[in-house]
Amino acid sequence: MWMWVVHRATGVAIFFFLVVHVLDTALVRVSPEAYNAVISSYKTPIYGIVEAGLVAAIALHAFNGLRVILVDTWPWALKHQRVLVWVVWGLFVLLMIGFLPRHLSNVFGGA
């Protein structure tokens, strides 16, 4: 039940980011100055945290999507779907442990 809510919420968030992301990338067709100006705002601490949240949303949506596929197609997975929910969260935590220190040190001036 809760994963269903998580899947919908992260999906909507990713969709709206995607629209914005195509629009900001489209600025490469306007001028290098325009693109660099907008992208520089992505390098600020606030956006850095938003990016971390975005990566978190994508990771959760992706891993839970795999769980949904397994549960749909594999009787064993259906029987053990509660365990698989914990596997999703486990993979998510591992990915964030790998990603966050590096990303946050990039954003908060480790370079």
């Binding site: 919908r8 999906g11 909507v12 990713i14 969709f15 995607l18 629209v19 195509v22 629009l23 990338t25 489209a26 490469v28 067709r29 001028s31 290098p32 100055e33 693109y35 660099n36 992208i39 992505y42 390098k43 850095g48 990016e51 990566v55 994508i58 992706a62 999507g65 795999l66 949904v68 596929i69 749909d72 990603f99 590096r102 990303h103 990039n106 954003v107 370079a111």
Partner: protein, 154 residues
């Protein structure tokens, strides 16, 4: 069951409930597409995030020259194009399912779905044009912002 071959079944099988404008198997295709594109998008987007946001200097390395460097290779142009199309259709179809679930009046559903379809089409067309008409060495601006290979072109 073999004996009942000629007689009518005891229980009439439930007919699937259909809206006025039903397209055969459209929802099965939607179901299959979400799963197929989902797996592909996992590979495409995780790689995209790894290259752009994790390796090198992460988000700090991204600027016009970085994009130009990537799109100098047809591989990344096609990669980004496939990612754009699949992600917009996958996300748009997901939003359609949410509209079906939460928009209560037919008028609201119609309006939201029209808006959604227009936005998805617009983003796919815009994104594709940006990828395939991209000019890595535009003239007139600050030349220091351009990738280094532009000097060889001139």
């Amino acid at each position: 069951m073999t004996a009942a071959k000629s007689s009518a079944p005891l229980v009439e099988p439930l007919r699937p409930i259909r809206s006025g404008r039903s397209r055969n198997h459209a929802e099965q295709w939607s179901w299959l597409f979400m799963r197929g594109s989902g797996v592909l998008l996992l590979v495409l987007i995780f790689t995209h995030l790894f290259i752009n946001l994790f390796s090198g200097d992460g988000v700090n390395q991204i600027d016009f020259g970085f994009v130009a460097g990537k799109w100098a290779s047809p591989l990344w142009k096609i990669w980004d194009f496939v990612m754009l199309v699949l992600a917009m259709i996958h996300g748009g179809n997901g939003m359609r399912l949410l509209i079906n679930d939460y928009a209560r009046t037919p008028w609201l559903r119609k309006t939201l779905k029209t808006l959604l379809a227009t936005s998805v089409a617009f983003i796919i067309v815009l994104g594709s044009l940006v990828i395939f008409t991209f000019d890595p060495c535009p003239t007139g601006g600050d030349q220091s912002l351009l990738p280094t290979f532009c000097e060889d072109v001139r």
